[in-house]
């Protein structure tokens, strides 16, 4: 099993009612004035060297590294590394990513044809969904944003259910009340999507707190994007999760864009992972296009959550190959070459196909067959809706 070391930031504060400064003061030999502060807000040491008094900023060191298991061509960086996933699981991962990708293509076109009113694809981000979903238990609660349909598919949401919600027909359990892609499933523990961004974020630690009290042995995963991370709700969520010891995984899909707003206009620091330590939250950055790496970090995060009742922040770097939605034409704000690079040279599905082929469970014919099978399944459900 891979031993994953997360960027550790443990900062426990215990506050006794009795005030006893002597136990905080240093023993002999300490230069005067450099003792530990007694301020309630910080018990660090004093220093006359201002350089000691400044937290690290991201300029200079290139930022926090991205954890990956395989490269862009599906080769393991560390050949000894083995995540101990069965062939069955690995194939399910691949098939589910392909199914999502196929459904996205067909439903996107359906909107273009006027059959459904609206749609959002997850092109390029399939590994963030499947990698994370596969590392969770079915009774872990999911609070998502709107670009996480693969998590539902992994858990067993059917194509029919997807179609019913998108069409808003009489079979939609939400009774046609919401726009397409606002999925929800009580059975699959996936809270219904709402359009306002980041509102799910403070709710997730609340739900996690309830799970903790009920000793359910489960955690909550909360998905959000690089844009939603700017909302006040995101800040509140992380602060609450940390101070109230909530077993919640904050999973950020940093796909480079919030509609047309690139990350350069969204934040000035080192992405979202760098914010975690500010809250006292264990954090890690991962290559979001590497389904195995995503699996690995979520599995480790889940263990921390459930065993220690602490939140974990995961920032999965990825790329939004598709437009923001059917109401968007991203050629208005980014080059087609850029999109093409990610689609052709570093796509989670083709990367994983390479990996599987190297493992010997997969080949070109199987890939073509799978594509065809997905197509047929989706079209069948599509016609039924």
């Amino acid at each position: 099993l891979t031993m994953l070391r997360l960027c550790r930031f443990s900062f426990r504060k215990t506050r006794a009612w009795a005030f006893s400064p002597t136990r905080l003061l240093s023993s002999s030999g300490e230069p005067s004035g450099h003792e530990q502060s007694l301020y309630p807000g910080s018990k660090s040491r004093f220093s006359a060297d201002i350089a000691q008094c400044r937290p690290l900023t991201s300029d200079g060191d290139g930022g926090v590294s991205l954890y990956r298991v395989m490269d862009r061509l599906g080769q393991l960086l560390n050949p000894e590394q083995d995540l101990n996933l069965s062939e069955e699981t690995l194939l399910k991962m691949h098939k589910t990513m392909m199914l999502l990708n196929t459904a996205d293509k067909i439903l996107y076109d359906a909107q273009r044809q006027g059959r459904i009113s609206f749609y959002m694809t997850s092109f390029g981000e399939e590994a963030t969904h499947i990698g994370s979903a596969s590392a969770l238990n079915s009774n872990d609660l999911v609070y998502a944003q709107y670009r996480e349909a693969g998590v539902l598919l992994w858990r067993g949401y059917t194509l029919d259910e997807m179609m019913n919600q998108c069409y808003g027909n009489h079979l939609d359990p939400a009774k046609g009340r919401q726009m397409p892609v606002h999925y929800g499933s009580k059975e699959l523990n996936y809270h219904t999507i709402s359009s306002p961004l980041a509102t799910q974020m403070p709710q997730a630690p609340g739900a996690a707190y309830a799970l903790k009290r009920a000793q359910a042995g489960a955690c909550v995963i909360c998905y959000f994007g690089d844009g939603a991370a700017s909302e006040g709700d995101a800040h509140a969520a992380m602060n609450f999760a940390a101070t109230l010891d909530c077993p919640v995984i904050f999973f950020c899909r940093n796909n480079g864009y919030a509609i047309s707003t690139p990350t350069e206009d969204q934040y000035r620091g080192d992405g979202i992972v760098a914010r975690g330590p500010g809250y006292g939250i264990d954090s890690v950055r991962v290559d979001g296009n590497d389904v195995l790496a995503v699996y690995d970090v979520v599995r480790a995060a889940r263990e921390i959550c459930v065993k220690m009742n602490k939140p974990v922040l995961i920032e999965a770097m990825t790329y939004r190959v598709g437009h923001h939605s059917t109401s968007d034409d991203s050629s208005a704000y980014r080059s087609i070459d850029e999109v093409s690079y990610w689609d052709r040279e570093d796509h989670p599905i083709s990367r994983f196909a390479h990996y599987l082929k190297q493992r010997g469970f997969w080949d070109e014919k199987k890939e073509a067959d799978l594509r065809k099978e997905c197509q047929e399944r989706v079209l069948e459900a599509f016609q039924g809706a």
């Binding site: 809270h191 709700d233 101070t243």
Partner: protein, 327 residues
């Protein structure tokens, strides 16, 4: 049954204690809750039920309500406190876009009905802009939420217990001026007062006086003045639940008296009296002897030194009665 003398604060504590002792999933949280709360509504609860159930949160109203929604959606009874109603606005999105719509948007697959948000509201003599507001109208405009305002300790305990147990998110606004001023013999046991049911406090034939919270007491005095000085018999009603409101009781009363005065501290324009007036004129038009009178806070922010001129005091209300009676 047996009763003990309690003020409004103690009635709140009593209700919370009752819930915490009978519902193991219940938790009470907000800013400064642990030591007892800035108005002492949660005194003794953390000691009695532990820090896991009665706890402080960071200073963030959007966080408090969001967290509460999550708790409730996961099956826990979540009782959140906003330190002042004036500070509920950062949580407006969570309340209006999330709490109110949680059940509807999921086709009833999910809900946060176990959420209750308490907050002190209303004029207190020196609160000014940010410690005096009555925000009920903003939330009465939001289907999916319930809004409740008690007038007294007995009402508070019963309505709060009903609100917490109501399977919908409820905003419970406590008139802070009554926290210590209002003292009653409150029943010791567990009892509920139904939501969406107005209470006729005094029957009358000539005029209907309608208010909620502290303003009920102002109108009671005004009604006595009207009886003594104008020989008018006034029917006094406490609305209690602002939304959904008891249309039947109000319309029945107005159909009988033909004259309605609604009074609230919140500003005149768009205040909840406007909704009541619109509905009443539509339903009871032919029974009305005069247009509905609204005596409210002025359309300005709530001032400090000018408070006595801002609030709908008894003289302004009495003037309105004269106008109604002589129309």
């Amino acid at each position: 049954g047996s009763t003990t003398q309690k003020n409004l604060v103690q009635s709140v504590t009593d209700a919370l204690d009752t819930i915490l002792s009978t519902d193991s999933s219940a938790v009470v949280f907000g800013e400064d809750i642990k030591f007892g709360g800035v108005f002492r509504c949660t005194v003794g609860l953390a000691e009695k039920y532990g820090n896991e159930r009665v706890f402080n949160t960071p200073l963030s109203e959007q966080g408090i309500v969001g967290f509460g929604i999550g708790l409730a959606a996961a099956g826990a009874t979540a009782i959140a406190e906003m330190q002042f109603a004036d500070y509920v606005f950062p949580a407006f999105d969570q309340l209006v876009n999330e709490a109110a719509k949680y059940r509807y948007r999921s086709g009833s697959m999910f809900d946060c009905g176990q959420l209750t948000v308490r907050m002190p509201c209303g004029a207190v003599g020196h609160g000014a802009l940010y410690h005096s507001q009555s925000p009920e109208a903003y939330f009465a405009h939001t289907p999916g939420l319930k809004v409740v305002v008690p007038r007294s300790p007995i009402q508070t305990k019963g309505l709060l217990l009903a609100s917490i147990r109501d399977p919908n998110p409820v905003l419970f606004m406590e008139p802070k001026i009554l926290y210590r001023q209002a003292v009653e013999d409150v029943p010791v046991g567990d009892y509920e007062i139904p939501l969406s049911r107005a209470e006729v406090l005094k029957e009358g034939a000539d005029l209907t006086l309608l208010a909620w919270g502290n303003q009920v007491h102002v109108l009671r005095e005004v009604g006595q003045m009207a009886e003594k000085e104008l020989g008018l018999s006034c029917e006094l009603i406490d609305l209690r639940t602002i939304y959904p409101w008891d249309r039947e009781t109000i319309c029945e009363s107005v159909s009988k008296t033909g004259r309605l005065l609604v009074s609230h501290e919140a500003p005149f324009t768009g205040g909840f009296a406007a909704e009541i007036a619109a509905f009443v004129q539509s339903e009871c038009f032919l029974n009305l002897e005069a247009p509905v009178e609204r005596v409210c806070g002025w359309d300005t922010p709530f001032p400090h030194i000018h408070e006595p001129f801002y609030v709908p005091n008894k003289y302004r209300c009495f003037d309105a009665i004269k106008k109604l009676a002589s129309y």
